[in-house]
Amino acid sequence: MTRDYQGNDMIVADKINKIYPNGCHALKDVSATVHRGEVVVIVGPSGSGKSTFLRALNQLETISSGSITVDGTDMYAKSTDINKLREEVGMVFQNFNLFPHKTALGNVMLAPLKVAKRDAATAETDARDLLKRVGLSDRMDNYPSHLSGGQQQRVAIARALAMKPNIMLFDEPTSALDPEMVGEVLDVMKGLAAEGMTMVVVTHEMGFAREVADRVLFMEDGELLVNETPEAFFDDPENPRLRQFLSMVL
């Protein structure tokens, strides 16, 4: 199984295209590789295909052509069980998408219990540890409606981590947060990065990209235009479109 995958290339996207049923060509020949332990940040203007690309990496969107290999498994091979593969790819959403009928603890424990079939005691101990790790030891029994945005997003991160994934995907995890809560979520993400988690992060937080990313990708209009180290990306951008984009957001 892929759990035993030892290779260095955690995600390999090869010339993927996505054409939505309405004809929108959201990804155009996008190729990228993410190595083990790397933090890759994707930036780009609205509608450039960042979310589509990220969601293609755990098959929330199926691609129209090309190939994606995740954690050593060809995602579209006949023998691939997508549910098994998704266990190894955690995802964090812009709107948290916590399960409102479960407490924080219940959210974190649900997939370990029902998908990984861990026993209740183990699942609960793990979940408590994870919530402690994201700084929510005193909020475990709260329902999502009784948590702030920043707290909800940290629960969502803990929930994704509970399946012990090898890769974490983040789609604008701080965009729906009040400014004063952005920091607490970014800190959790920095901690994860420091522990060597392979991460792909779509974000508008340029500071996070510069500080934490190993590489920064720039997308525009469905194309991957730039794939650089943060230094080259921010301090010495060659691509004129990127320069224009940076002049607007920085």
Partner: protein, 315 residues
């Protein structure tokens, strides 16, 4: 303070209107010279009939050491111990023949209206159960991406909602019932379940579709299969949202169940019709029947409100 006084006035008006309506009913009864006699209805709900304890075979009445009487057979075995009865009709030393009355017994029995009520409850509960299961399946089929499955469920819902329940009951009873040799009660339950399921399906579909898409995506991204995501994430949330419309539907079910009386099931309505002819109190009987239906529907809506309260913990 001010609003409290204002509400007091309105509440008083409410009571006043109710009293006026009651008075109106009373006066209309007067106008047609109707003699209200509510006691006549009571025996149809519960009655208290005397029944007799009789001797199973010939024998003698003897008294034992404690002075209690018993019926002893000619062979000397105790046949009936009379110590547990209060109204004895025999004395010590009596010679008894088979079939003689030994004691009389007062027993509470339920009347025909209560029997009808029980049938209505039974038929409603069974139909409720099947309607939920069938409605859930059809509602899930309705949102399937498979066109055959989806169209089947649409056709079902349109068919059921487009025809009157009364006609459906006749079809189920006379056609399906004859083909499969069904009892009346079963036919009634089937007709009511099929009918209610179509409405439940629409409620379930709307409930599921009201759950944000992100919930399914979050569940799937954790490795849940579609059925698991439905069972553990989507349906529990949809259930909570659909409780109020479901409650309305189930109350309709109870009321619609009165239509099965047309295939001679002695439910509450049919019992009412039968009792009216013998009771000489038609108004009282129908008012009582209405009250009993109201009792059923209001306890159901009370139960569902309780459930809603319990589920609102996560709000």
């Amino acid at each position: 303070m001010q609003t409290q006084y204002k509400n007091l006035g309105w509440n008083a008006l409410f009571v006043l209107i109710l009293v006026a309506l009651g008075g109106l009913v009373f006066l209309s009864g007067k106008k047609i010279d109707y003699n209200w006699n509510w006691q006549r209805v009571v025996p149809y709900i519960v009655n208290n009939q005397a029944s007799a304890v009789t001797a199973p075979e010939d024998g003698n009445i003897v008294s034992n050491a404690e002075g209690d009487l018993a019926l002893e057979s000619l062979a000397g075995d105790v046949l009936v111990d009379l110590s547990e009865y209060e109204d004895l009709l025999v004395y010590e030393g009596d010679l008894i023949f088979e079939g003689d009355r030994l004691a009389s017994l007062e027993e509470w029995r339920i009347g025909p209206l209560t029997e009808g009520l029980i049938v209505t409850i039974k038929i409603s509960l069974w139909s409720l159960l099947f309607a939920i299961v069938l409605g859930l399946i059809i509602g899930l089929m309705r949102i399937s991406s498979n066109p055959a499955v989806k169209k089947l469920s649409i056709a079902y819902v349109e068919l059921i909602r487009g025809t009157p329940l009364l006609v459906q009951i006749f079809i189920v009873y006379f056609f399906i019932g004859t083909v499969f040799d069904l009892e009346r009660f079963v036919a009634g339950v089937i007709a009511l379940s099929l009918f209610t399921a179509a409405y439940v399906a629409e409620i379930v579909r709307a409930g599921i579709q009201s759950i944000p898409k992100g919930q399914m995506e979050a569940a799937r991204s954790l490795g849940m299969s579609y059925p698991k995501a439905m069972i553990y994430v989507i349906l529990p949330q949809a259930f909570k949202r659909t409780l109020p419309p479901l409650a309305g539907q189930f109350i309709n079910l109870i009321k619609d169940s009165s239509l099965v009386s047309v295939i001679s099931i002695t439910d509450l309505t049919k019992a009412g019709r039968e009792v009216v002819s013998g009771s000489f109190a038609p108004f009282e009987v129908w008012f009582t029947v209405a009250l009993l239906y109201l009792l059923l529907t209001s306890s159901l809506s009370w139960a569902i409100q309780r459930l809603e309260k319990r589920l609102s913990a996560s709000d």
